[in-house]
Amino acid sequence: MAVSIEQLIEQVSESELLRFVTAGSVDDGKSTLIGRLLHDAKAIYEDHLASLDRDSRKAGREYIDFALLTDGLKAEREQGITIDVAYRHFATPRRRFIIADTPGHEQYTRNMATGASTADLALILVDARNGVTTQSRRHAFIASLLGIPRIVVAVNKMDLVGWSQNAFEAIRHEFGQFCTKLRIADLEFIPISALKGDNVVHRSENMPWYQGPPLLSYLETVHIASDQNLIDFRFPVQYVLRPSSDFRGYAGTIASGVVRLGEEVVVLPSRRLTTITRIQKGFEEVDYAFAPQSVTLCVADDLDISRGDMIAHPANVPWIARDIEAMLIWLHEEPMRLDRYYLVKHTTSVVRGRFTDVMYRIDPDTLHRQEAKALALNEMGRVCMHLFRPIMCDEYARNRSTGAFIVIDPITNFTVGCGMIIDRSHPYTGSTAAQRVALHQEQITVEDRSLVLGQKPVTIWMTGLSGSGKSTIAYAVEKRLLADGRACFVLDGDKVRQGLNKDLGFSPSDRSENIRRVAEVARLMNEAGLVVLVSLISPFRKDRENARSIIGGDRFLEIFVHAPIETCEERDPKGLYAKARQGLIPEFTGVSSPYEEPDQPDLKLDTTQLSVDACVEAIIGLLREKRILE
């Protein structure tokens, strides 16, 4: 049946847009692949092909070098490398594609991040001869950091490994292992030869063992429609339209969610409620609008709304935060500084802010966390920022629009960093929790707090002789939990006896009272949602049982930190044993007062056998096992 021009146009106009980023090391053949993709998909004009042919010969190639097609800048063509992100376009009857072609060199992490920020998919090239390299891992990590939900690994140059299935499977296995540590919803592997064209557009006859689709078929059919967050309505006000006295509208791009005529909305940060009275999309009025449409909203009430404000549904609001935590990529030669302020552009607002802490730097090759004072060019890490004005934001993993920000140097005006907001340090996690807090402020339960903090409160009660290592371990666990974004606190004997319990001595009855008070404080802290680490000798069984009943059995973990008295005495970090032996301290546990070992502690740590780190690991393991940490 003949298709009319109108139908054809309709079909082409309605096709879906897929944006993908390509990454690969210098010699993985990325440019060749893109050239091949464009060529075989018939997306290269004849005059471009002719000039490519000329350029290829000029560069001394005997074949058409597709790399010359994509390496646009003169400097790049001369050096034979790609130095900046280039955007390519092509279309098939099914889809329209935008490729962000990013350079693979280590020093150009920033370009990969740039290309990845708007991508639906990442295409990572691996040379079949070299296997998974440091750079492949780095690219996968950046892709996951920027929230790209799917990665396609094109294992290239299969022709040079004799089309070997084993070589392909080995790479698939190794890469797959690495990616289990990342947040990637969908991971696909395709064996190709960009130079020969196998499995790029056309199915390879050399690799009958591969059953999956060629690259282009995959790109044409992979499901992306559900990537858009259509749940949490967020409308950052971009521009106020007031052409006449009878029209006032708020123009902007819907960051996420759907808005309907007549709906009640809340304006943030003022928290004023109003109703949507008109939705203008270009020249037409519509009944509803959704992300990522650019529209203009009118509301019923005459409110003071300006650029940088946000409109949302009252039952589903973002955080309003001055202190944020984020994964950050530093993009500038001059390293980050903690002693000066920067500008943060987030949705439509620009605020001043300061880095208050670099919690760690992450090594993208091993994913190990390293201590760092600041981030330098192309380094990534977790940071805390304090903003001079609050922003309305969400977790990046949930919302790529309201969870992202860039950092601008106020002096040079250069874009020096980009951040992806994480939720751990926040009083809320995501909209469900925020919604509950917003609506039920009169009756907040421990469960509510638990939900918003993303952790179950618990008291980890560490008992043992003086010098057995309780406090050392408690503080090490606290550090570790805080680094993980958990809210926790150490109550140790010395600390409470300096203030809260300074009226108490060391008689059995005073010891009981000491423990009772600490248990009550721990309980309050648990109710506030905190994980509490108690470090107390607490020598008597009945006192510990009393503490358990105060705190509640389901929130009480008893950990016996064990070292023989001889060892403790030898360690004697505070010189107490020596004094006790001289009779200067009465009723000293282990010397002049007994220690009753727990019968069935949740964990027994022998500190003569285990390092501090091993003890920390054991406790974290216990918390995981008890499902206190996910």
Binding site: I5, L8, I9, V12, S13, E14, S15, E16, L17, Y45, E46, D47, H48, L69, G72, L73, K74, A75, R77, I83, D84, A86, Y87, R88, H89, R95, R96, I98, N111, A113, T114, T118, L230, Q238, Y239, L241, R242, F247, A251, T253, Q280, F283, Y288, F290, P292, Q293, S294, T296, K345, H346, T348, R400, S401, A404, I406, P410, N413, F414, T415, C418
Partner: protein
């Protein structure tokens, strides 16, 4: 069922409107460069939509070389009058009076003076801190590397090796006095997208885009229109050719393509099967190796 999903054309439209509004919100004196061509027509339409029911809150600027086709001037004046646009025209009259032209001094020099220099003069005279342009990344290799917000120093120069990273839709428009941002809201559009949108929105364009029998000469394999006062080269014989223009520039430097597409729909159909890039008809892109990049570094769009 409610549709909650955008086609590629709708997604491009939303993105472009976002960019145009961002410029209006963040800059003190923005201007939209209006070149009379199809991309400008689309860009102006997007701006109208962005601020409707209000008017476009910045002027349009036409950098005129004095060598555009008569149909273009006619179209420009009518179009801008009809939509109520605030049109500013800048012409480097001093250079034109000195006789700058492509025949005597070559296209490279002529462009550098009548387009690049004229543009820089116009931006400086108007005190504009942002200039929206209709350039697209699919047009040419070095444009593929262009940012949506392209920073230009106080001499209007582009430094491709030191571009600001551009992430998400968070554009960095911060500049110092005298510096300027060139903004390209159509960055992600292709020539086909432009025509599809013109079709969908019924946007008026200069009639030269439609096929008609026109007097032409063939020069270096290109179809060059014959016009009054043109200098014919030895052996050139004007002939009537059914053709249309894919891009519109200055008359000495703009070629046509053989085509029978008389309507937007037919142009779209032609586009879907076309074999050559649009800029093949622009003599100025081919005048030296990496010529577009060179021009852009100096301040050209």
């Amino acid at each position: 069922m409610e549709k909650l999903h955008l086609s590629h054309l709708e997604a491009l439209e939303a993105e472009s409107i976002h960019i145009i509004r961002e410029v209006a919100a963040e800059f003190e004196r923005p201007v939209m460069l209006y070149s009379v061509g199809k991309d400008s027509s689309v860009m102006v339409r997007l701006a109208q939509k962005a601020f409707y029911p209000g008017k476009i809150p910045f002027p349009l600027l036409h950098v005129d070389t004095g060598m555009k086709f008569p149909e273009m001037y006619e179209f420009r004046d009518r179009f801008c009058r009809e939509i109520g646009a605030d049109l500013r025209i800048y012409r480097h009259d001093e250079a034109i009076a000195q006789g700058v032209n492509p025949w005597d001094m070559g296209t490279v020099k002529c462009c550098a003076i009548l387009k690049t220099q004229a543009l820089l003069n116009a931006l400086q005279e108007g005190g504009y801190d942002a200039a929206l342009g209709g350039a697209r990344r699919d047009e040419e290799k070095s444009r593929a590397k262009e940012r949506v917000y392209s920073f230009r120093d106080s001499y209007g120069q582009w430094d491709p090796k030191n571009q600001r990273p551009e992430l998400w839709n968070l554009y960095n428009g911060r500049i110092k006095k005298g510096e300027c941002i060139r903004v390209f809201p159509l960055s992600n559009w292709t020539e086909l997208d432009v025509w599809l949108y013109i079709y969908r929105e019924q946007i008026p364009v200069v009639p030269m885009y439609f096929a008609k029998e026109r007097p032409m000469v063939v020069r270096d394999g290109r179809l060059i229109p014959v016009y009054e006062g043109m200098r014919l080269q030895p052996g050139e014989e004007p002939q009537t050719v059914m053709c249309r223009f894919r891009t519109l520039g200055c008359y000495p430097c703009t070629g046509a393509v053989v085509s029978s597409a008389r309507s937007v729909a037919e142009i779209v159909q032609e586009m879907i099967t076309v074999k050559h890039s649009e800029r093949v008809t622009r003599l100025i892109d081919h005048d030296q190796d990496s010529s577009m990049e060179q021009k852009k570094r100096e301040g050209y769009f």
